[in-house]
């Protein structure tokens, strides 16, 4: 009997009556059962491992008939324990059948054989599954990989490895294959120092396969670390049942050849999720933590599941149930919007607020005065512009006159405009006076005065022209005569108008 035993009890679906029979299929997966021997090999050596087992099925019950077959990967077998009834067929060793064995019968056997398949062991694998209700499941997997086979010793020769890769470096890990779900996108493969360019991806509607090559071929005892990440469509993995949402996603690593010492699965739920529960098909250690990601205020709840000794058979789906209101999805966009809103509001406030410290310093007063001057100049410009508009209207009235010949209407229009112009010139006076008193305006004042003078000149000429035209109409002069009479005036008016426009531009630039 071996020194230490672990008992597993199986409860049957229904009691087993006398004389009844029941068939049980028991699947047990052992990790680390193969020991490399020799423990250190060179690049040229093949990798040999030993396997310890008992030829008799270890059971607390008496066994009537029992046989054992050991299937080995390669044909080459260094040695194996021969007891009675041992046969070998190619790469399969058969022990038994043995009959009528007492409870706890035990007969150790040792098989020593060639096993060149790589021993990829992930000492730690952290899978982070981040759910975003905007339609995305982001999976990030951090691998910490070691080649658990026979340690390599001596030189590593790239030349030999390149020339005869399957002889010199037979047991090296060259690549791993990750079987990813269909419709996966945004896949990356990188490590601490950047992207790793040696990977290939292909897929169809059923699955996606990614061949990842580590940066260097891994020999026995060599280590590497890398991260793969991919995005999945949310609707394939998130479902709803009686008011709760649940994520249904696979537990283990998508890389099939990898045996995992410690697997940590973190499910990051959206901010504001509550009422979280987990259902897994096998016992796992559970925990909770909080993760801060983009624009999080209180952090996202994270379900942490930890399991040691994970093999590909653990690659089953598990579920995380939680409650989440769809309205919470809006918090982050709203936060962004309000952030920008407040930014602009502060800008506006800053532009309009008076932040100077000393309200009596000369520079501050000068600035105030300058603002006043600018305001006054602006008003002057407005008034001049309005005058110019009235001039345009006068011209228009003249045109109406030539079209309709309605002298009365033209005269009344003229009267109205006269009144308007007078009001405007009245408005202009205090502004000019204030400009004259202000010391800051010294530079701009001559221009303004010139502008006002020119405008007045223009106004007078305009009036003169208007009167001439109206008079001529009253005298029923011919159109040609009127034109001749007005021509000189018109020239001057255009010239003046041009000058006024130039002056306006000039003042604008100051």
């Amino acid at each position: 009997m071996p020194p230490a035993l672990t008992f597993y009890s199986v409860s049957l679906p229904k009691g087993l009556g006398k004389g009844d029979s029941l068939t049980l299929d028991v699947l047990v997966v052992f990790k680390g059962a193969l020991q490399p021997f020799p423990e250190k090999i060179t690049q040229a050596d093949i990798q040999l491992v030993v396997f310890y087992e008992t030829a008799y099925y270890l059971s607390p019950y008496a066994v009537k008939v029992q046989s054992l077959s050991v299937k080995l990967p390669d044909a080459r077998i260094e040695s194996f324990t021969k007891i009675e009834n041992t046969k070998i067929h190619g790469s399969e060793i058969k022990y038994g059948p043995y009959e009528n064995l007492p409870p706890f019968s035990y007969s150790p056997i040792v098989v020593h054989f060639e096993a060149n398949q790589p021993f990829a062991i992930a000492q730690e694998l952290v899978r982070e599954i981040e759910i975003s209700h905007w339609g995305n499941v982001q999976v990030t997997e951090h691998y910490n990989l070691v080649h658990g086979g026979a340690q390599s010793k001596g030189e590593f020769s790239r030349l030999d490895f390149q020339a005869r890769p399957h002889v010199r470096g037979a047991s090296a890990i060259r690549h791993l294959v990750a079987k990813l779900p269909p419709r996966v996108h945004s896949i990356y493969y990188r490590d601490e120092i950047g992207n790793i360019s040696t990977s290939n991806l292909w897929g169809d509607h059923k699955k996606t396969e990614m061949v990842i090559e580590p940066r260097y071929p891994m020999f026995g005892g060599w280590r590497t670390a890398f991260t793969i990440g991919y995005s999945l469509p949310l609707q394939d993995f998130l479902f709803q049942s009686d008011g709760k949402r649940y994520v249904n996603i696979s537990f283990g690593s998508p890389v099939n050849e990898v045996v995992i010492d410690t697997l940590i699965v973190k499910v990051v739920l959206p901010e504001g999720s509550a009422d979280i529960s987990v259902s897994a098909p096998f016992p796992v250690k559970q925990g909770q933590e909080t993760k801060f990601s983009h624009l999080d205020l209180v952090g996202r709840p994270v379900v942490v599941l930890e399991k040691t000794n994970v093999v590909p058979e653990h690659n089953q789906h598990f579920q995380v149930y939680y409650k989440f209101s769809s309205l919470s999805m809006l918090t982050e966009p709203l936060m962004l919007i309000s952030g920008f809103f407040f930014l602009f509001v502060t800008c506006i406030v800053y532009m309009h607020a008076d932040l100077s410290i000393s309200k009596s310093s000369p520079s501050y007063l000068a600035k105030l005065q300058w603002d006043e001057v600018q305001a006054a100049v602006q008003q002057v410009r407005n008034i001049i512009n309005r005058c110019l508009m009235i001039h345009d209207k006068l011209e228009a009235s003249l045109r109406d006159l030539s079209r309709t010949g309605d002298v009365q209407a033209c005269k009344s229009a003229r009267k109205a405009f006269d009144g308007l112009l007078k009001d405007l010139s009245k408005d202009l006076k205090p502004l000019l006076a204030s400009l004259q008193t202000s010391p800051q305006a010294a530079q701009i004042l001559p221009k303004v005065e010139e502008l006002v003078g020119k405008e007045r000149d223009l106004q007078e000429r305009m009036m003169a022209k208007h009167s001439t035209v109206v008079d001529s109409y009253e005298k029923k002069s011919s159109g040609r005569e009127i034109e001749n009479r007005v021509a000189l005036q018109q020239q001057k008016i255009t010239a003046l108008r041009q000058e006024v426009d130039d002056l306006l531009d000039l003042i604008d630039e100051i």
Binding site: G154, E155, F156, S157, R158, L159, D191, E192, I193, G194, N195, I196, S197, T198, R215, Y216, W222, R223, T224, A225, F292, S293, H294, L295, D296, L297, N385, Q491, K492, T494, A495, Q498, E499, D508
Partner: protein, 707 residues
Amino acid sequence: MVGKAEPVNGSVKSGSNQSIPATMQSPLKKSDLIPNLSLKTLKLKTKQQELLIRVSILCLVYVLAFITRLFSVLRYESMIHEFDPYFNYRTTLFLTEKGFYEFWNWFDSESWYPLGRIIGGTLYPGLMVTAAIIYWLLRFLRFAIHIREVCVLTAPFFASNTTLVAYFFGKEVWDSGAGLVAAALIAICPGYISRSVAGSYDNEGVAIFALLLTFYLFVKAVNTGSLAWALASAFAYFYMVSAWGGYVFIINLIPLYVLVLLITGRYSMRLYVAYNSMYVLGMLLAMQIRFVGFQHVQSGEHMAAMGVFFLLQVFFFLDWVKHLLSDTKLFQAFLRITVTTAIGVGAIALGVGMASGYISPWTGRFYSLLDPTYAKDHIPIIASVSEHQPTAWSSFMFDFHILLFLFPAVCLISAIAVSATIKNLTLVARAKSKVTQTGSVRGSSSSKGSSKASLDQSQPFQRNGAIALLLGAFYLLSKYATHCTWVTSEAYSSPSIVLAARGAHGNRVIFDDYREAYFWLRKNTPPDAKVMSWWDYGYQITAMGNRTVIVDNNTWNNTHIATVGRAMSSYEDEAYEIMRSLDVDYVLVVFGGVTGYSSDDINKFLWMVRIGGGVFPVIKEPDYLVNGEYRVDKGAAPKMLNCLMYKLSYYRFGELTTEYGKPPGYDRARGVEIGNKDIKLEYLEEAFTTSNWIVRIYKVKPPNNRW
């Protein structure tokens, strides 16, 4: 069916025909109204229009400056480039993880084994602190980003900010048009792009910004005489000092500027205020940087600034005395006495300072600025940096970043020229149209009119010429922009860690050997292993391989580097003694013979010999040359064929066929068949060689057991 369908179509047609005029009319009316309204509302706001255009152009330039630097990120990945940036990245990482005090007091035992390096006292922390602050700020705003992304994008971000500064500088010096052109030129100037592409996380990235900002603020301070601007320029200077050793040029250029102003008789109170406050405060602030410390008042490179400072005081004093003394003769005499005593006292102080060693003489770096061949003759280390540069002057320009100082000035001046030209041309072009608009104004008797009339006679030619010149200018400018983009994408956007080549079928082949080797070191060597390599790779090995190196790119100890150079150029047994004494576990060499990668260690080897020979006379350069020729084939010198570097590079290379139709052992980088194909290693063993043989790592065997 067809017959029925036709009338339906017809009715539809007629209906649409009827409706067309109706719909035509209303838009017409509206369009009549809209131009009137918009023209009037817009005409009132020409200034705002101009502001809008200016701001949008500036925004576009800002964005352009950023995105034109992203070629390497798009083409490769978001990664740190070249050599020095890896040190900066590593220190930034340390700073963000451990905090500022730990960073300031960091003794790095991973480099310069066994000496170590006091990081806080031997670096300019500006860049790292900037990146860390950006990182912390973004973290605070809840953007979960990696520090690497911040580091990669720091340089483009600051390049964008530089365009803003350039705009304001141009506006201050000339007008806003010149400012805009200056911003655009700075944004695409290749000299600047080469130093600030994404991933080139180096001091220059932020230093150019600080440099331009200091100048701008100082000019602003001189123009306004405002204390606030002077203080701002002092702080900008402080930032510049904290970011880059090139601040020395600022502290010489600003006094030069002041001196020119003095000589040209443009001394004013404003200048006095600006320079004094900037110098005094800037100096006090600069001394807070430990790497600068008291150098700022002691080293010869800073004396010009101090001299101008005292000169300004004398000037001011004389001004005051002149104000008090009404007699000019008396003043003349006084002036003579004061000036002679001032110069005498200054000279004596300088002489005493120099003699007593209080003021350090100029460093080699500064001498080499005056005479570029100085470095070549006296400091092989400085010269070895520039080994690929063809001539002394251009290499000197390249190494000492003179271009970096020239290009902002060049950009500004050309911006002023361009904007002034375009402005004048557009004025000429527009003048004609104005005249044609106003038509019959010629009769008016103003002088303007007559000038216009005279202008008008030559106008058809002049106007067309102006338009043609304008078009030409725009063509040249757009050509320049596309050229700059092309240069950026072709020449400056390669990370140099990852090499890319075209394969036989036109596909892109990536050689990622450096990272392969560094990651192998990181994962598969003991954490305390010491790696010996030529100093170029030191920063990368510590940053990416996370292992201790003997020498690195901070070439502060020439003897140590020479020891490594000596080991590389000795026979294996002698080298083994040196490596044992340095406690070396692994030796890393870079070898391009398989891929044809030419900047490998064999091509750098002569510098190892020279630097090694500079300290240890046992190493003699002629031993490695045949008739003054450097070769690696059968005709090579016997010492060359058996030195450590040769053996490590070509170990088992003789068995490899690199190119079809060539004998085995054909070195593609140098195009020859190697001379020593049967290399046996006694004290080292091959530990790792990358897939394209670019990096080869050897393990130093422990000493044999003695009976």
